[in-house]
């Protein structure tokens, strides 16, 4: 038996609806590849330790902290970053409720809420609370963020 050769790894995936091919070290972190190779700087490095959620993207529709994922794991996956959203209801709600101050955490919060919409289109208060626990806002805009997200899940007449 022979082992597959090491070195640089080609990774084919779909990023914001476009097919992309990158060549990476196995040790490359997805957040860095998105920002440095693909120029998608909307996903933010915060703690780079899985605690703050600023780097949250969607992987096959689910929120994932891209600082804790190897790029090689993205082979064949559909990735969505904040740049892949166009006028989504979550974005509009964040603007309407001014759910940010410095804005650094905002892409992560928005991507997490997009994931919540995918998983629970009619999320209740408790589900919203649990999902929002994954992200930190150091400016403490939590109340405005909660209002914005609650509005997204409030049925419109």
């Amino acid at each position: 038996m022979t082992l597959p050769p090491p070195a640089m790894y080609p990774v084919a995936c779909e990023v914001n609806g476009e097919k992309r091919l990158v060549r990476v070290r196995a040790a490359d972190i997805l957040l860095s590849t998105l920002r440095d190779q693909l120029g998608l700087t909307g996903s933010k490095p915060g703690c780079e330790n899985g605690d703050c959620g600023a780097c949250t993207i969607l992987v096959d529709g689910l929120p994932v902290k891209s600082c804790l994922m190897l790029t090689v794991e993205a082979e064949g996956k559909q990735l969505t970053t904040i740049e892949g959203l166009k006028n989504s209801p979550v974005q509009h709600a964040f603007v309407r409720y001014q759910a940010f101050q410095c804005g650094y955490c905002t892409p992560g919060f928005i991507m997490n809420c997009e994931g919540l919409r995918n998983a629970h289109p009619h999320a209740d208060e408790e589900t919203i609370r649990v999902w929002l626990e994954s992200n930190i806002c150091r400016c403490t805009s939590y109340e405005e963020i909660q209002h914005a997200v609650r509005d997204v899940f409030t049925p419109k007449t």
Binding site: P6, K65, L68, M69, V72, E73, E133
Partner: protein
Amino acid sequence: MIPFDFDYYKPSSVPLAAEWFHLLQQQGKHPIYYAGGTEIVTWARTNDIHPGAVIDLKSVPECNVMEMQGDKLVIGSCVTLSALTAANPFPLLSETARGIADQTARNQITLGGNICGNIIYREAVLPLLLANSRIRIAGIEGIREASIHQVFSQKIRLEAGEFLVQIVTDRSDLSLPFVHIKKRQIGSVGYPLVTVAALKKDERIHTAYSGVCSFPFQSAAIDQVLNDTSLPLSARIDQAVGQLPAPLLSNVEGSAAFREFVLKQTMAEAVHTLERR
């Protein structure tokens, strides 16, 4: 960034994973098995571990099952905690999983990864200890099955090159009355001050703990005392705390004295709740 290189392998079967591990080990690559990767990436980034190769188990079909096989619930080691919680085949396990990390992190953290991790809490093992689950383990010699109590003592104890494939739990243990209480220093995300999981089976309460000592545990001596209804509950709890298998943990989450206070309260809540059920 991770400041060193390693090779990445993604086997598609149990034998291939074990064989690649064996070969890489022979080549001096110091391979490690990889599932959700959250802990490995974190420790690699801080230069605390230096694997020469990682073997990603997520493409091994057996590691991704979550199904009833006859009277047994079989859960693959690569099933994520969020998938487990959503499917909810074992409510105490779901409740325990729901308390680990945060919702987004649980989309990556796997059941096997939590149990086999180096972080001392490993809370997902508590329900498995209480339900006397069995563990299917693969290695170069093939697959073997063992009781969780044989392979988990303070931490998982596998032979070199082995990996956890599946966790098997009897149907009869899945729906027993249970309590899960996790108390943190602050907030509702993070490591525990004290986590108590408890099941009531055949009129006896079985308890397991994380955050109390520097490893998760179940103790027959503690359960013996807690079930001695000839004593008032406060006396049982005082005696139970005297039976801890190691000194109370003292760290940034809380001092040993504070943990003892919280542990006693939490034990009382758990026993009180289950004695009424």
